[in-house]
Each structure stands twice: as structure tokens, then as C-alpha cells.
Symmetry: C2
């Protein structure tokens, strides 16, 4: 009863039960082409009766690639990535693929290690929010061997892979302009991870808006791990204190918001703020946050579809040039200085 024998029933058992060859069973499992109606019925009945389930390891060993895709994200603690991951898993499952999950923690060596695990497991394709230049070479090698790769949210040059991005520049441009429209002249741009092109594009958007308006730019761009809140607070006491701040991602927004709260700085009166990246609780904050919403779910969905498409067409060996860029949306709340939308009078 407790022998460690899983999947006890094999294709041979089914074949025997029907008095046919294993090939016939295999054909039925894989789309029943060239099998007579009646035969197919008999085999299917036996499969159901014996509760047979094909062993994926065996199929993989022959077919060289498993119906599993790998997903590498920096972290699942960040709601943006977890939402994305959720969408990936959903779409993959719908299409009959399983998802192997990896959270690399933006750790260089971990990402490389994970990539090599992927290869060992005959993963069909890779979805990655790339965090490290170090694993680039390995990624490229995987590509060369024909494994399809799709980069999500940010990309590295030199990798021949599909890309699903967001309109970072446009979103940041609009956000900054909105602040300018509110009359702000000294707008500070704050954030982490400037080495990623997603963040880089947001910075460009900010820059473009400031330049267009003839305003001078101010930045606080630090490395991950450096507490950024105190720096923003300190800038408020400088000779030219900013009257508004544009934060480059949600981690930054939360860090800045925490510091402002701690220092009892009033938003938006003393400092207005717009963040890139919206999140569920943004509207329930002490001062509801105006934010650039990124379609995290759509990002995951599109990327997964792109990957599976290239798996189906089997053109992973060719160049993967697809690129999708999704629009962002500026969600106006109060932290930018906008008034709360007056509620419709409710009938008592």
C-alpha cells in the first residue's frame, strides 16, 4: 500500500488491457490520428478505467522538451511581480503548460544557477524579468540552442528574445507634466535601479517633460538597499527644496511615503507626489496616491502567449523579434494636489 510506486499504471498496462500495441495507445493520447473510431473509444475507456496518466518524464526524454515553462522574477513580495506571475501561471495552465517558478532576488549568481536548472529540466521556454547582466551570456546560450525566451518589464540589449514592455517614457512624461500643470517647478525624481531600461525610460520621460517646460531637473537615484526616504526628507531642507516628487517605482513610493509620514510632512501641501506603479491600497492611504498604473496582469498574459506561440510554431530557433508595448494610465487621486472627486449624493 505504501510502496513508493507512483503512476503505477503505464502505457503498456493500457495496451494490454485493450489487446493492442502501445503505439495505438500513444496515438490516442496524442490526438488520435490514424486510429479507428472504435479503437479510440476502447482505449479511452481503458485509460479512464485504469486511471492512466502518461509519465511526463518519459515523454520529455523522447520529445526533448517538457510542457513546462520557466518563470524567473526578482521577487514575489513585490505585488507588481506577484500579479504578473499569477497571470503567467493562469495563461500557461489554460494552454496546458505548467509553470516552474524562480524568484532570483536580483541575486546574480542565483539567477545564473536557476537558468542552468532550467536547462537540466528540459524546460520548453523561459519567461524572465531580467535582473542581472551576469546571466546574459547564459541566456543567450540558451537562445542559441533554440530555447524561446521572452523578457518581461525590462530588457537587456544583445539578447535575441521576445519583449513585453510598458510605455515607461510616456507614463513618466504624463505624470511629470501633471505635476507641472499643478504649478510645480521644482520636481524631484527619485528611485532605485536606474540600470534597468524600464527605469531609465521613466527617467527619460521625466527629463523630457522638465526640459520641455524649461525646468531644471533634480535627482535622487540610489542603489538598492540604500534608504531613500531620509534623502528625500533632507532635500526638503536644502536651498532649493522640491515642491513635488516623482517616484520611479512602487518600492520607492512606499519608502518615500513612510518617511514623509514619519516626519509629518503634509501631502500634497508641503510636498506633492506621483508614483510610477499603482497598487491596490493606494486609494486607502492617508493621502490617496496618484500613480501611473502598469497593467501587470496584461504584461504577464501577453508574455506568456508570445512564448507559447513561438513554442507552437517551433520558431524558437529563429530570431525572436516580437515586441509588445502596453500603455500605462495615470490614476488621479489626491497626492498630486487634485481634489477628491465629489461623491454623488446618496439617498438617505
Amino acid at each position: 500500500m505504501s510502496t513508493r510506486s507512483r503512476s503505477v499504471v503505464t502505457i503498456a498496462d493500457v495496451a494490454r488491457a485493450c489487446g493492442v500495441g502501445t503505439m495505438t495507445v500513444s496515438r490516442v493520447i496524442n490526438g488520435k490520428k490514424h486510429v479507428s473510431e472504435e479503437m479510440a473509444r476502447r482505449v479511452e475507456e481503458a485509460i479512464a478505467r485504469l486511471n492512466y496518466q502518461p509519465n511526463e518524464a518519459a515523454r520529455t526524454l523522447k520529445g526533448r522538451t517538457s510542457r513546462t515553462i520557466g518563470l524567473i522574477v526578482p521577487s514575489l513580495s513585490d505585488p507588481f511581480f506577484s500579479q504578473c506571475a499569477h497571470a503567467v501561471q493562469q495563461v500557461a495552465a489554460e494552454q496546458g503548460y505548467m509553470t516552474m517558478l524562480f524568484a532570483c532576488e536580483a541575486n546574480r549568481s542565483v539567477e545564473a544557477e536557476e537558468l542552468s536548472q532550467m536547462r537540466a529540466r528540459n524546460i520548453a521556454g523561459i519567461l524572465i524579468v531580467p535582473s542581472s547582466e551576469n546571466s546574459l551570456e547564459q541566456l543567450q546560450e540558451l537562445r542559441r540552442s533554440g530555447m524561446p525566451v521572452v523578457m518581461i518589464d525590462r530588457t537587456f540589449a544583445g539578447i535575441d528574445a521576445g519583449e513585453v514592455m510598458v510605455e515607461n517614457l510616456e507614463g513618466a512624461f504624463r505624470a511629470t507634466n501633471h505635476l507641472i500643470d499643478h504649478g510645480h517647478r521644482r520636481i524631484l525624481c527619485v528611485g532605485y535601479d536606474r540600470e534597468y531600461n524600464s527605469i531609465g525610460e521613466r527617467i527619460e520621460g521625466y527629463k523630457k517633460a522638465m526640459q520641455t517646460a524649461g525646468l531644471s531637473q533634480q535627482y535622487i537615484l540610489v542603489k538598492r538597499g540604500v534608504p531613500i526616504g531620509p534623502k528625500v526628507v533632507a532635500s526638503l531642507r536644502s536651498a532649493k527644496p522640491p515642491s513635488a516628487v516623482f517616484t520611479l517605482n512602487n518600492v520607492t513610493s512606499v519608502a518615500v511615503l513612510s518617511a514623509l509620514k514619519r516626519e509629518e510632512i503634509r501631502i500634497p501641501q508641503q510636498l506633492a507626489i506621483i508614483g510610477f506603479d499603482d497598487f491596490e491600497l493606494a486609494s486607502l492611504l492617508a493621502v490617496p496616491l496618484t500613480a501611473v498604473r502598469q497593467p501587470a496582469t496584461e504584461l504577464g498574459r501577453h508574455a506568456t502567449r508570445m512564448l507559447i506561440d513561438s513554442l507552437r510554431t517551433g520558431n524558437g530557433g529563429e530570431r525572436m523579434t516580437s515586441r509588445i508595448v502596453l500603455p500605462t494610465e495615470l490614476i488621479l487621486r489626491q497626492s498630486c494636489g487634485c481634489e477628491p472627486i465629489s461623491r454623488i449624493a446618496r439617498p438617505s
Copy 2:
């Protein structure tokens, strides 16, 4: 260059390169017992030089179980589960296991389907936040065939599996008592998913506290999908309006908070609130939320360790009776009526 041939180099290639048998290479890969020092060195050098990587599918086909564990959670959108999932993935990776991810969306048929996929993929063991009674039988069948299973956060009776829970009753008891200490007499208990024992225990904790204090209980317990906020608001206009509310999980807390905000009901003056489940932004809310903190990360860590332990000892075939119950913590903020902690004067 672009043939779909991954993992081109096999164990045979390595063996040939060293002029040894494949067995010797296999031994080196798997812990180098009974291999001479020099031989091991030679083989390892060849492995590195050829960039050889053992094919997991082949190993699995022989060994019957892959170094992969399956994780089934209801959703990754809920930060509690995504944090938990993150911890699982981390610990598993440290121990050399990969994580196959499934988000079942509390969908009965999906959970069952996923479970059967697990079997097909020779998964070594299962970590599950169970959502459905429907898949119980299947889980139990998996158990019978020797697959170790650990349930996280909530459990179903009749499944012989490891359990990692949280002190739900105690946490809820303490939270309710705290509200009573603030002078509240009419405390409403609100939530979803009463069918889960985790939620059931929280209800018991509330009940115990109310009974001990000689107070009468009030409940709003609804099915998933039903908007719960409006019901809480409505109760405020009843003959015996509650002066405080205890919410049974974070989804409920957020729903109630949203409704209270919409109706401009002041917290804690008009209605005090304590929620079960803490979250990152709780302290940045309009009124910082007092909450029972669950150690999501610890939950994931312990569960993964428990699973891997039973994989190592190979006692999956025997009964899995381990049970870990982690403590919760009441995080006092302002929504319960407590005063904000006075800040330490900062040197200007």
C-alpha cells in the same frame, strides 16, 4: 546552430572524454562514493569543460521522483499567499529543489486538474493551501501512493498530511479582547470563507472572548464574491449598531476599510477595527490598521522544510503526523483606538 537540441552533451560524452564508463561519471555526479580521488577529479574536469548537465527527465525516469516540489495556492494576488510562496521557493531552491507553481483560484476543478498534473510530472511532494473539499479524495490517493503532502495555513480533516498552521484562535481572542479593553461592547465579526478551519478558529477566538466577557456576538459571514463592505455599513444603521468590528482576513479588512472610507465613517471614533492579517501598507493607511500579524514567510519556510525532511527520510509512505503551529502577534496601531506612539523628538 539552431537545431532544437538542448543539453547536447550527455553522460556518455563525458565518459568517453575521460575514457571511463558512464557509471563512474554517474557516481561522481551523485556524491562520488567509491570513486578514486584522481578519477573524480578527471571526471569533474571533463564535466566542467564540456559544460555537462545531467538531464533531469532521464534521472526522474529511473528514480521515479524528480527533485521538484509542487506548490498549490489559491492566488498570488493576495500578499499573504505570495509572501508564503516566495518563502517556499527560496527554501526549496536552497535545498536543491525546484518549485512548480499552481494558483488554483479556489476553483474546485482546477485544483483537481493540477493535482493530476503533479502526478504526471513525478513531483516529489506537495505543498498545498487547500481550497476545496472536492480534491480531497485525490490528495488522499496521492498520499496513499507515498507522496508526501504538507498543508499550509488551513487543513482538511481526513487527510494524512503534515500541517503548518498559525495560532488562529489565540490571535483572534487577543484581538477581540483588545477591543473589549477599549470599552467596546458591541463588536461585529466579519468575514468570508467560514468553511476553512483557519477562519473557523478565528471565529472561535472571537466567540470565546465575547462569551468570557459576557457579551453577545454579532456576525456578518458571507460567501466569497459577496460585497461585504455595504453590509457592515448597513449594520451601523441597525437598532444595535456595533462600535467595533473584527475582520477575519485581509481581503475582508480591505473591503470594509474601502466601504468605511466611501461612507466617510470615522475610524476609530464611529467604528473601531482590528483585522486578522497584517500587510505592508497597514501603517500608511488613512488610519493605520491594528492587525494580527501572521508570519507568512515562516509559514512557508517551515512547511517546505517539513516536506523536504520527509522526502529525505523517505518516510512519505508512513503516516505524516507532524504539525507546527506558529504564533501570531497583535500589532497595535490606531484603528483600534490606541494613540499613536509619540515620536522621539528628533534633533533639528
